[in-house]
Amino acid sequence: MTELTAPNVVASSTRSDRRRKLLHNLLRGERPYMLYIAFVVLLVVFSLSSPWFLSVDNFLNIGRQTTLVSIIAVGMTFVIIARQIDLSVASTLALSGMAAALAMSQISNSWIVGAIAGLGTGALVGLLNGILTTQLSIPSFLVTLGSLSMARGLAMMVTNTKPVIITNETYFAIFGEGTFLGIPVPIAWTLVAMIVGILLLHYNVFGRRIYAVGGNPTAALYSGINTKWVTTAAFVLTGALAGLAALVLSARSHAARPDVVQGMELDVIAAVILGGCSLFGGRGYILGTLFGSLIIGTLNNGLVLLGVSSPMQLVIKGAIIVAAVAFTKR
């Protein structure tokens, strides 16, 4: 009997080990569970103080409101793990949205054309960010500070700051207003970005390289890794995701406007850092980022429901972000 049971015990323990490792990979990252505790505390506080907070509709609302930040934050996680920063994401979103809308109104009114134009423009801005950062060795803070300004300017120039109306119903359904398996599509696209991010970062060869490049760029170079290419790819991914966010936003508002989401890059970066990424590179995980962005979204939502004035909201939000980072720091 014992001889029969022994292998089973071993097998099940390794299986549970593997499950534990998976959980560890996805949830914990490098930090303790403070992030999730913080999120739960936030939920409890708002539930107790506002009768409207605790409802499915409101949670779907939070989900919808955080999609833009969450989608881009997936890309930003890669960039920050690679020891870089991308300040241009909000401007890239605006420019990509304009490109998508213009492509549909000028070239062909097909959602595919719009999607390619939006994603492509985002990826292109990311590519330029990456190439300037790695080939000319300019700190990405400066490169993307420049492209923040340039992309926003271009977005405004193409139509002389006028919005571009979108009329394609399929486009609205796919990116903005439809549902997929009962989930509103903006949330579905967020999930897609998350899953792709998790696969790329935690299971793919690319993720290994990103961690190595951020953890120790010299050691990565000495191990034969093309650190410039890897870094550039992180920027391209972030740009493309800003493009995806642009599709979602423009499909929801039936138009692309050049002045949207100004300053959103700060929410994105805050979400990633709250989620446990190290600004010094080499550390971070996608699910942490999701929770980081949910915390920011929940804060926005809860403070509105409590009737806090919008200037005060900014103050409270900023203070809570700093406090949370200080609290979750190792």
Binding site: V205, R209, G215, A219, A220, Y222, G224, G282
Partner: protein, 526 residues
């Protein structure tokens, strides 16, 4: 000798500066220190020896206030002391000079010496002239040859270290702790450092000198304390002991026997095969017409002073530094290395000089580090095959006997020798055609060093051509089939095993070539 003379002149040998009595420290389940005693008297250089993991670093961290001891007492000049912070330790007059220096590279020597203690005028303005004068006066008094106006970042390593020591002595320092100060110095630079230490001890400062180099112990220390497995393994008066007894204490008698039985084959081995790697007339900004060949199965040493171009030869072969002219051949085929990835594809591997900066991602696991150069080999459709990666890492950990809990341990938690084994593990499988090693045993303890020599010999026996750079001439003579002397970015001479038998002779040769500037090219037949 001069130093011990000055100590003998002191009337009270019992006046101890530091008395550590029965210190114990536990980290989780690991007993890092058990009942450790250490006494340092004024004006003494007290060497502290032991393998990595023997407890030296823990003891230093307790003395410098980074860790608190679990039990035991520390007395400074007869008064009990407790250090709950580095600041308290510093107030008590203890200064630690770490391997990684704590200087601001963009500031001048004088600015660094008086950092935080600048002579001030009203409103916080710095009295620049007074600052310079004070720094100069202090250095003059110590007799340390440093230019106070020089930017620290522009100084050679030894001079930075001297600045660091001078900075430590600037305050009211009674006990100076030096942690492997010579690990990256050339022999001339070591001389300068020893002079500075001598000047400090003559002022009555006590010195704890941590090192792996036993010859330095005999040169500079009056007493030696050896730690083994976190406990005292003996304290010796240096003049009354010898190398053999120290090694004995460090590694324990049981492990000495196999090391002693290792006999160095004096005869030159012959290599009938063609070279696995050859360079002819390779030049770039740091190299001028390097001619070099490495046979299959050969261990070929590069001897030279720091800055001679020996590291640059390895970097050029590994594709990190472009070759502007000349030709390289790998197994007879011409090849121009364009990048590290290109070199790795050709079967070239490099164990770089600085394992912390170039070799390892310290915050990542052993498995992540070992698989780093060959990530695509552990993936299918771009996805990591975690199990295959761990299998490879586990095998490497076992084969190289890395002391760690498992392949998922963080590299940061390992001792220096075990970290270096992990760097070797990166290139262990498949066997590299050419294995480039830059200072493979720096900061590695005696026991791990022997194991690394074993790894290198095995690589050569399995058919790799090994090219090794080392400042440790004993190491080169012990390992190498041929040794090339590098001077001013070129091969001044290649020696075959047996031509030179002791390090003294090789050292002499290096000095001659270096002094003459242009060594005569005398390639001897292999």
């Amino acid at each position: 000798m001069e130093l011990s003379g000055s100590i003998a002149a002191e009337p009270q040998p019992s006046a101890s500066l530091l008395m550590v009595d029965g210190i114990s420290k536990r980290f989780g389940g690991v007993r890092a220190l058990r009942d450790v005693n250490l006494e340092v008297v004024s004006g003494e250089v007290h060497a502290l020896l032991g393998e990595n993991g023997a407890g030296k670093s823990t003891l230093i961290k307790i003395l410098s206030g980074v860790h608190a001891a679990d039990s035991g007492t520390i007395e400074i000049a007869g008064k009990p002391a407790t250090f709950d912070s580095p600041a308290r330790s510093r107030e008590a007059g203890i200064a630690v000079v770490y391997q990684d220096l704590s200087l601001v590279e963009s500031l001048s020597v004088a600015d660094n010496l008086l950092l935080g203690r600048e002579p001030r005028a009203r409103f916080g303005f710095v009295r620049k002239r007074e600052l310079m004068a004070r720094a100069e006066a202090f250095l003059g008094e110590l007799g340390i040859p440093l230019d106070t106006k020089a930017t620290v970042g522009s100084l050679p390593f030894a001079y930075r270290q001297m600045t660091e020591i001078a900075k430590a002595l600037m305050g009211e320092v009674r006990l100076l702790i030096l942690d492997e100060p010579t690990s990256s110095l050339t022999s001339d630079e070591v001389r300068i450092l020893f002079d500075a230490i001598g000047k400090a001890t003559r002022r009555g400062v006590g010195v704890i000198y941590v090192t792996h180099r036993l010859n330095e112990v005999f040169e500079i220390s009056q007493r030696v304390t050896v730690l083994r497995d976190g406990a005292n393994a003996g304290t010796f008066v240096t003049a009354d002991t010898d190398m053999k007894r120290l090694v004995n204490a460090i590694i324990g008698t049981d492990r000495l026997a196999p090391a002693a039985s290792r006999a160095t084959p004096a005869a030159a081995r012959s290599f009938d095969s063609s070279p696995v790697l050859s360079l002819s007339g390779v030049s770039n900004d740091r190299l001028s017409a390097v001619d070099l060949s490495v046979m299959k199965g050969e261990i070929h040493g590069l001897a030279g002073l720091i800055g001679s171009g020996r590291t640059e030869i390895l970097e050029t072969i590994f594709g990190l530094r472009p070759a502007e002219s000349g030709t390289l051949e790998i197994e007879g085929r011409p090849w121009l290395p364009k990048s590290a990835a290109d070199a790795i594809d050709q079967g070239v591997a490099l164990v770089p000089e600085d394992r912390h900066v170039q070799g390892l991602v310290l915050d990542h696991s052993i498995e992540r580090n070992i698989t780093l150069p060959r990530i695509p080999h552990f993936s299918r459709w771009g996805f990591m095959q975690q199990r295959a990666a761990f299998r490879r890492a586990d095998a490497a950990v076992a084969r190289l006997s890395v002391k760690a809990q498992g392949a998922s341990s963080l590299v940061r938690t390992l001792s220096g020798g075990n970290q270096q084994k992990v760097v070797f593990g990166k290139w262990n499988d498949p066997r590299p055609r050419v294995l480039l090693l830059d200072e493979p045993t720096v900061g590695v303890d005696v026991g791990a060093r022997e194991e690394i020599y074993g790894v290198i010999r095995n690589a050569a026996r399995d058919g790799s051509g090994v090219l090794i750079v080392s400042s440790d001439l004993v190491e080169l003579i012990e390992l190498c089939d041929r040794i090339s002397v590098i001077v001013d970015g070129r091969v001044a001479r290649t020696l075959v095993r047996g031509e030179i038998v002791d390090a003294e002779e090789l050292h002499h040769l290096l000095q001659i070539y270096q002094a003459s500037g242009q060594g005569v090219l005398q390639e001897l037949p292999a």
